[in-house]
Every structure is written in structure tokens, then in C-alpha cells.
């Protein structure tokens, strides 16, 4: 059958808008010169050398650290939630999953910004704290606020894939384990948890990747002082104009993600399902 021809327009599109841009970034990352004038480009690895200095390594470390912590928090908060939902009756189940999706319909910048109203100096939380007779807390513009923003924005990405794996688990497996005398904890550790690993993996990647590369959450909730690697990339491309350095950082970010993916995909047997797990 000649049906495969129908994909040719997209293959062309992909070449222009996915493959070539990545090669351009790669090209920029290994050259230096005036970003706007290609005749000044010279091969050089200075961009990478510059990245591996304490200033930028610290930024990378901070980004990875925050992303890891927020991924762990999402997993700890999300797994029980996914389990609770998966045990409900089908109608209530769909309803609850929908309730996880609905917040995403409100602009995410606005939702993140709304935390300022809740946590700011004159915010709702501090209002209660001061009414109770305590000193107002400093809740905004620190790494805890950034963490909160990450967990808030990415929690659904953890719950949904885990949930979709949990509902597919064959109930008779659990019954069999119970019949054979396993208690609840044992059933969970030996049956449910191992079977839900693909969902956990999808969840982890779906939380970690946007968390490690965000520049919006850190800007809105961390103030100008709180820099993550995403902020540095943004700065290089939009303000400083050093596209070479910005590109090299994008490449590093990409490699970082690819390594994460390679590690996690080892645990994921259902390859074709991978990124589609959420939906």
C-alpha cells in the first residue's frame, strides 16, 4: 500500500521546523562571534568552558535540585491521590480526573501569579497569621515559593499517568494475593507498586522536565533574584544577545533530559505508550 506517502508533508515540516533548528542550536553552541553576523563565527568550545565555571554550575545545581525535590513531592502527594481516585466508582472517578484537568484551562501564568495574592506580604495566609497574633511570615520570593509553584503546576502530570496505569491493573491479581494471605501492605508492595512503575516513570519525566527548565515560575514566585537555568537561557537569547552561550546551555539542558529519559525508559516496558501516558 502506498499510504505512507501521506506522511511526506509532515516529514518535510519536521525537517524544517524540528531537525534544522536543533542543528542550528548545535552549530551556535560550538561557535563564537557576533550572533547576528554569520561571517564572524569561529569554531570554539569556549561556551561550554564558560558554562563549567562555578557561577553557572551553581545555577544548574540549583535547578536540578529544585526540580528533583518538586518531583519527589509530586510523587508523594500524587500517588495516594491516584490510588484514591482509582478505587472510586467509574462515574465519580471520571469526575475527579476531570477536576484535575479543569484548572489547566485557566492560564497558568495567572494561576501561578494568584499565589502572590495568597502568600504575599498582605496576602490571605499572612492575614490569618497576623490575626492569630503571630508575626507575618515571609513566604514569597524564596526557593520554597518556587517549589510550591512547581508542585502546584505539575502535580496533575504526576497523578494522571499513575492513575491511568492503576485502573488497568487486573483486579484478580490483587484478589489472588489476598487469597494467598498477603496483608494490605504486602499487596501494595508486591503487586500494585511494581505494576504501576510505568505510570510512575511517565509521571516523573513529565514533572521533572518542565520543572528543571522553567523560567516563568522562578520569575513570578522567586522574584528577580532567583535564577534557574531557564532564566539564564532566556537572558542570553532575549536580553544579552549572546546566542552562542544560550545555545550551548540549551544543548546541555537537552543532553541532561536525554540522559534522564534513557535512565527512566529502562524501567518503562511499554515503549510506544511513553509520552502518551497522560492522555
Amino acid at each position: 500500500m502506498k499510504m505512507k506517502r501521506t506522511s511526506y508533508p509532515y516529514i518535510l515540516w519536521m525537517g524544517i521546523f524540528i531537525v534544522i533548528p536543533l542543528f542550528l542550536i548545535l552549530f551556535f553552541s560550538i561557535t563564537t562571534g557576533d550572533s547576528q553576523n554569520i561571517s564572524t563565527f569561529k569554531f570554539s568550545l569556549d561556551n561550554f568552558k564558560r558554562f563549567f565555571t562555578p557561577v553557572y554550575l551553581k545555577v544548574l545545581g540549583r535547578s536540578v535540585n529544585l526540580a528533583l525535590i518538586s518531583t519527589v513531592i509530586c510523587l508523594i502527594l500524587g500517588y495516594p491521590m491516584a490510588m484514591i481516585i482509582s478505587k472510586e466508582k467509574i462515574k465519580k472517578r471520571n469526575m475527579m480526573i476531570l477536576m484535575f484537568v479543569i484548572p489547566m484551562w485557566m492560564n497558568f501564568l495567572l494561576r501561578t501569579y494568584a499565589w502572590l495574592t495568597l502568600l504575599g506580604k498582605n496576602g490571605f495566609v499572612n492575614y490569618i497569621v497576623t490575626k492569630l497574633g503571630f508575626q507575618p511570615l515571609n513566604l514569597m520570593y524564596n526557593d520554597k515559593a518556587v517549589l510550591l509553584g512547581m508542585v502546584y503546576n505539575f502535580l496533575p502530570f504526576m497523578v494522571l499517568p499513575i492513575y491511568s496505569v492503576l485502573i488497568k491493573i487486573d483486579k484478580s491479581l490483587i484478589e489472588a494475593a489476598e487469597d494467598l494471605g498477603a496483608n494490605k501492605l504486602k499487596v501494595f508492595m508486591k503487586v500494585i507498586l511494581p505494576l504501576s512503575v510505568p505510570g510512575i516513570i511517565t509521571g516523573i519525566t513529565m514533572v521533572f522536565i518542565p520543572a528543571v527548565s522553567t523560567f516563568v515560575i522562578s520569575r513570578l514566585l522567586g522574584g528577580n533574584k532567583y535564577t534557574l537555568i531557564g532564566n539564564v537561557v532566556e537572558q542570553q537569547f532575549l536580553w544579552t544577545g549572546d546566542w552562542h552561550f544560550g545555545s550551548s546551555m540549551s544543548i546541555i539542558l537537552m543532553i541532561f533530559i536525554l540522559i534522564t529519559m534513557a535512565i527512566t525508559s529502562k524501567f518503562d516496558k511499554d515503549k510506544e505508550g511513553g509520552g502518551g501516558g497522560l492522555w
Binding site: M1, M3, M81, R111, G276
Partner: protein
């Protein structure tokens, strides 16, 4: 019993966490003071001012226009691409599938700056066109990923049977394959629309002077304080979408059709 109420409490806390900012936004769209955090009384003036605010209305127009066009274009390209990829085999299929995953897996910011570099390189003027092209680019992979499973579920021999019975490939495509994978196409289209409407990072890097969507407007407002008009607009959009969802849910309940189309 304790266990059950514990579960209820946990569920309540998680949903309270998810919905707290949304409730704040909705409540403060009725606040008569411009500053956030202080409640000074009920008003509808922001809803009136919304329809006079040219900047916000223009941004809304751009957002919707880009979301609708990129959803339509990426659904068309994506549908044909998915059918093509499904019929490919061997190394070619593997390469295309993996390349297709790139925009899904890559951080937004990397996709954004790589497209920005491309447009600069090709000397395309930044503006509406570049924004639309980049939206289509990041939407197509999701469309393909939601159609491919439907193609796999379809009986392989259906299209062949149609063609054996004298249908041209195009006719078989139109009358057999497309109707079979329709749920996937609809899911993909809706997903593209949602992704496009909510996107900030890719739009931010690939827009030009004077062209702004809602996200960009909100981001630039965030420094000087967000105009409550935006709260009013998002409240309206949120309620609109919620209403749409209820209608769709009612209809699917009646038809007992395939659920979860929106998720």
C-alpha cells in the same frame, strides 16, 4: 471508618490546593480595588472595562485566532502524518517516530529558542506568522500521538477490503480510515487547541513587536501588577469552558459514547 474519612480529607486538601488560586482569581475579579490582597467591595466594573480595553481584547483575539488556526492546521497535517507513519515500517518509521517525540520531550524553552534561531536565520520577520508556525510545530506531535493508538486498534484489513472492492485509496481513506480514527482526531485537535491557548514560553520567544497573546500580556503585566480586567476575562473563559464541558458530558452520557474525549 477512620480510614475513609482520612481519604476524604486528603482528597479535599489536594483539591483545595489546586483550586485555591482559581477561587482567588474569580473572587478578585469582583473586587472594587485595583490592588490585589485587599477586598474593598463588590463590583462588576472590571467586566465592563474588559470590553473597552483594546490591549487585552487584541491579545484575546490573537490567542483565539492562533489556537483555532494551529489546531486546524496541525490536525490536518497530523492526521495524514499519522496514517502515513502507521503504514511505514522498519528504520524509517522508527526515525520519524523518535523525531516526532522530540518536541514532546524537549523542554519548552529549548524548542522555543531553536525555532527562534531558525526564524532569525531565515530572516523571517518575527510576528504573527512566526508564532503560528511555532504553535503548529509543537502541536502536530500531540495530534499524531493521539491518533496512532486508534490506528492500531483499527482492523488492518478494513482499508484493504475497501480497496479490493474497488475503492480508490483516497476513497478508502475518506470513507473507511478517517471515520474509524475520528475519536483520535477529535482528541488530538482539542489537545492542540488547549496546548496552544495555554502556551507562553514558545510564544514569548517567537513573537514580534506589537503581536501579543494573553500569556505574553499577563507576563508583561506581572511586573507592574495585573490589571483586574484580566481576572474578569479569565473568569469568563473559565466559566465558558466549564459550561461547554457540562454540555458535552450531558450529551455523551445520553449517547453512552466513548468517554474521556476531553481528557
Amino acid at each position: 471508618m477512620v480510614n475513609k474519612s482520612l481519604k476524604k480529607l486528603y482528597t479535599f486538601l489536594i483539591f483545595a490546593f489546586l483550586y485555591a488560586p482559581i477561587i482567588v482569581l474569580i473572587v478578585f475579579s469582583f473586587n472594587s480595588s485595583k490592588s490585589r490582597g485587599v477586598w474593598t467591595g463588590f463590583t462588576l466594573k472590571w467586566y465592563v472595562e474588559l470590553f473597552k480595553d483594546a490591549e487585552v481584547l487584541k491579545a484575546l483575539y490573537n490567542t483565539l485566532l492562533i489556537a483555532v488556526s494551529s489546531a486546524i492546521i496541525s490536525t490536518i497535517i497530523g492526521t495524514f502524518a499519522a496514517i502515513g507513519i502507521y503504514n511505514m515500517n522498519g528504520l524509517g518509521k522508527k526515525v520519524v517516530l523518535n523525531l516526532n517525540y522530540l518536541p514532546v520531550l524537549n523542554p519548552d524553552i529549548v524548542t522555543a529558542v531553536s525555532l527562534m534561531t531558525l526564524f532569525r536565520f531565515l530572516r523571517i520577520e518575527f510576528g504573527f506568522i512566526t508564532m503560528l508556525l511555532s504553535h503548529i510545530t509543537f502541536c502536530i506531535p500531540y495530534v499524531i500521538l493521539s491518533i496512532l493508538p486508534k490506528l492500531k486498534q483499527m482492523n488492518k484489513h478494513l482499508a484493504e477490503a475497501a480497496m479490493d472492492l474497488g475503492a480508490t485509496p483516497l476513497y478508502a481513506l475518506r470513507k473507511v480510515i478517517i471515520p474509524e480514527i475520528m475519536p483520535g482526531i477529535i482528541t488530538g485537535g482539542l489537545m492542540a487547541f488547549t496546548l496552544s491557548i495555554d502556551d507562553f514560553v514558545i510564544s514569548f520567544f517567537n513573537t514580534g513587536p506589537g503581536v501579543s497573546n494573553l500569556s505574553i500580556t499577563i507576563f508583561s503585566m506581572a511586573r507592574r501588577g495585573i490589571n483586574p480586567v484580566i481576572n474578569a476575562l479569565s473568569t469568563l473563559m473559565f466559566i465558558g469552558l466549564l459550561g461547554l464541558l457540562l454540555i458535552i458530558n450531558k450529551r455523551t452520557d445520553k449517547n453512552q459514547g466513548e468517554r474521556g474525549g476531553l481528557i
